[in-house]
């Protein structure tokens, strides 16, 4: 047990927080609305860039969780939207990416398109210690 700092015990005497704990703290969060769009060509810019003070790619992670769930079984014709993903853009910036670039082969060559279809979700930037 750490002999310094803050230790917390519950009513059963179980230590519930100590200085040796690796906690998961939330540095920032944002609700991202549902986005459905698309176009021709290859896309590279991000829908949303979050600048989160304290963000360090080596110590931080970005959780992306739906705020709405389909509530029915997946099926071949299912069109319920997916979740965005992210990239570290350098410094304290995070790019939120809703879209996919894809190539369609027309028998001779690929033609490129991009498509986005994401559900309303919450993006949470977490720091682990």
């Amino acid at each position: 047990m750490a002999e310094y700092g803050l230790n917390v015990f519950d009513s059963h005497g179980v230590k519930t927080l100590g200085m040796e704990d690796f906690t998961i703290q939330r540095l920032g969060w944002k609700i991202i609305p549902a986005i459905t769009t698309g176009g021709v060509g290859v896309r590279s810019n991000y829908d949303i860039v979050m600048d989160v003070p304290g963000y360090d790619p080596a110590k931080c992670f970005v959780l992306i969780t739906p705020r709405k769930y389909a509530g029915y079984d997946q099926s071949i014709s299912d069109s319920w939207p997916v979740l965005p993903t992210y990239k570290d853009l350098g410094g304290t910036q995070i790019g939120i990416r809703t879209w996919l670039n894809y190539g369609v082969y027309d028998g001779h060559r690929y033609k490129y398109y991009w498509s986005a279809k994401t559900v309303e979700c919450v993006v949470e930037v977490m720091r682990v210690t």
């Binding site: 979740l83 996919l100 190539g103 690929y110 919450v122």
Partner: protein, 242 residues
């Protein structure tokens, strides 16, 4: 910070502070994922004893206690609405073969601290808006690992796979809250998508999809695989009990 409380450990990391909310334990229990037909999905559901009152969905962590099959993939529906999450349901992929699915599972639900202490003693930490950031009734979740980078592969034409590179220990719990229809890696190109907790008796964390529009290339110049983080934690019973 110009006010409040910050506890920093010996290597300079802030363990807890009044600046940021911290993920805490809510409850745990067991349930089963069962199928009625060998060629149909399995289902498992839990109603929380204590609904979670946060705007953001809870993090639902699952562990396989006793698998009925060597592999398990699933997706999740969290029940309720923002402000009152009441439980969850998981749907597992059909396994085929001779036996029905009957996986014994354990869940742990986690949230951000949102309530005052249940005791008349101890400590409460508030943020600048007077919301509870932490109380001594809370049991903080200890970080173990997160997924981040994934490797894309296409083993056969109909199936694509994204591998996190992480293999869980038997006592690891995987958050499944983010896996409903999957990620933007395969927008409009998947018929079924699931998060794998076990493949061939190995607790590999990966995502697979059954592809639609098979001729399309969805990982142009290998730039399509962006980051996606899923936490993996441990919840020993002596600390995280109901």
């Amino acid at each position: 910070m110009v006010y409040g409380l910050s506890a920093t450990n010996s290597v300079g990391d802030v363990v807890i502070s009044s600046d940021h909310k911290v993920l805490v334990f809510s409850e745990r229990g067991q349930f089963r994922i069962q199928s009625r037909y060998t060629d149909r999905p399995g289902y498992g559901a839990v109603n929380f004893a204590m609904p979670i009152l946060t705007q953001e969905p809870p993090q639902i962590f699952l562990r396989i206690i006793t698998p009925s099959h060597p592999s398990l993939s699933l997706y999740t529906t969290i029940l309720g609405v923002p402000g009152k999450w009441t439980g969850f349901k998981v749907t597992s992929g059909a396994m085929g073969g001779k036996y029905l699915q009957n996986h014994l599972m354990e869940y742990v639900s986690c949230k951000y601290a949102d309530q005052r202490s249940s005791s008349a003693y101890g400590m409460e930490i508030y943020d600048e808006n007077a919301n509870v950031d932490f109380s001594s009734s809370d049991r903080v979740v200890r970080y173990s690992r997160f997924t981040k980078s994934w490797s894309y592969s296409q083993s056969v034409n109909y199936f694509d796979s994204w591998d996190s590179g992480l293999i869980m220990d038997v006592d690891d719990y995987l958050s499944v809250s983010s896996m409903d229809r999957g990620m933007s890696w395969f927008v409009n190109h998947a018929q079924y998508a699931s998060l794998h907790m076990m493949t061939g008796n190995e607790r590999k964390v990966r995502v697979s999809v059954q592809r639609s529009t098979l001729g399309d290339s969805i990982n142009i110049d290998n730039l399509g695989v962006t980051y996606f983080s899923i936490p993996i934690c441990k919840f020993p019973i002596d600390r995280y009990y109901n």
